[in-house]
Amino acid sequence: MTDATHTARHEDDAHAHDAVHSHGDTHDHGSRRGYVIGFLTSVVLTAIPFWLVMTGTLSSQWTAILIIAFAVVQIGVHTAAFLHVNTKAEGGWTLLAYAFTAVIVLIVIAGSLWIMYHLNTNMMPMSVPDTAP
């Protein structure tokens, strides 16, 4: 493809997007480049945790911290690159709903673990009979 056609195509794209954006559909459908970059980033962010766990290079505590960190980053990458959640999509409402859901998800998971951990601690005598004579 020559440069000229390339530019023309780009302009067309820009026009098409303008049309879409000015008429209410503000959902970004992404570009080939965006998808490929998101995909390659995800491959790296997936491969490293698997490698860490399968080879056992680090202590299990560091491995746990790192793989959780990688998961959080990868969820962010997928949200931006594949789900196209950003401040502009649907006038920012998808982002707002996403943030709200993230808060609820964290409260549900962290809250359950926290409460049940303490309940478990109080119930621990359950295991005593195993060790008792």
Binding site: A19, V20, H23, G24, D25, T26, H27, H29, G30, S31, R32, Y35, V36, G38, F39, S42, V43, T46, P49, F50, V53, M54, G56, S60, T63, A64, I67, I68, F70, A71, Q74, I75, H78, T79, F82, L83, E90, W93, T94, A97, Y98, F100, T101, I104, V105, V108, I109, G111, S112, L113, M116
Partner: protein, 219 residues
């Protein structure tokens, strides 16, 4: 003359009352193929409520993940190479769906259908590997009835697998729709909703392979 004015007034009133509809109508008026502002947002809200279902299942798994009841532990039963294969399949299916959406944007019907078929096949591969894993586990005696850990594990992972299965059925339906009606505005909107659904399931899978399989294997 006055009649026309009244009609226009009526129109304006209707539009003013129904803001979301105004947006969709406007898109139609200008012949723009991409529709569905309100539909997209509504579907997104559904996905967020689905995320809450998965949140409760993750929380349940987190609470029960060490309740082995004398049964097998994660390290004994999880086969990480198999999980890695499944993760790769789902990740590749994400980008093939992305390419289907780009083909849709460019108005390429055949491209859309090819990428959709590929995505569907990868989805079937994912569910197949998962079913193989489940049957192996059950053969080894690691059934959902064995322990709290396994009950929570099967519930969480199978719910995700069921979602993927529904996604595959949806892809099949879209292939029929595309064959019959082509890439018209409604089908494009449906493909966009399916795109969100499919990528959302990949996001849930990140949680599954990290918190269930990987963390379980180092515990």
């Amino acid at each position: 003359m006055s009649g026309e004015a009244v009609a226009r007034d009526g129109d304006g009133l209707e539009n003013a009352r129904d803001t979301f509809y105004l947006v969709e109508k406007d898109t139609h008026d200008h012949g723009e193929a991409h529709t569905g502002g309100a539909t997209m947002l509504g579907f997104w809200i559904y996905l967020m409520s689905d995320a809450l279902i998965f949140a409760t299942l993750f929380a349940t798994y987190g609470v029960l993940s060490t309740s082995y009841a004398g049964g097998p532990t994660p390290r004994e039963i999880f086969e990480l190479p198999l999980v890695a294969v499944n993760t790769a399949i789902l990740l590749v299916s994400s980008i093939t769906y992305g390419f289907a959406m780009i083909a849709t944007q460019e108005g390429k019907l055949n491209g859309t259908r090819t990428w959709l078929v590929l995505t569907g096949l990868l989805g079937i591969g994912f569910v197949g590997v998962e079913l193989y894993e489940f049957s192996t586990l059950i053969h080894e005696g690691a059934t959902p009835q064995t322990s709290g850990f396994l009950s929570a594990f099967f519930t969480l992972v199978a719910t995700h697998g069921l979602h993927v299965t529904i996604g595959i059925v949806w892809i099949g339906v879209m292939l029929v729709q595309l064959a019959q009606r082509g890439l018209h505005a409604e089908n494009q909107r449906r493909l966009m909703c399916l795109s969100m659904f499919w990528h959302f399931l990949d996001v849930v899978w990140i949680g599954v392979f990290t918190f269930v399989y990987l963390l379980g294997s180092i515990r």
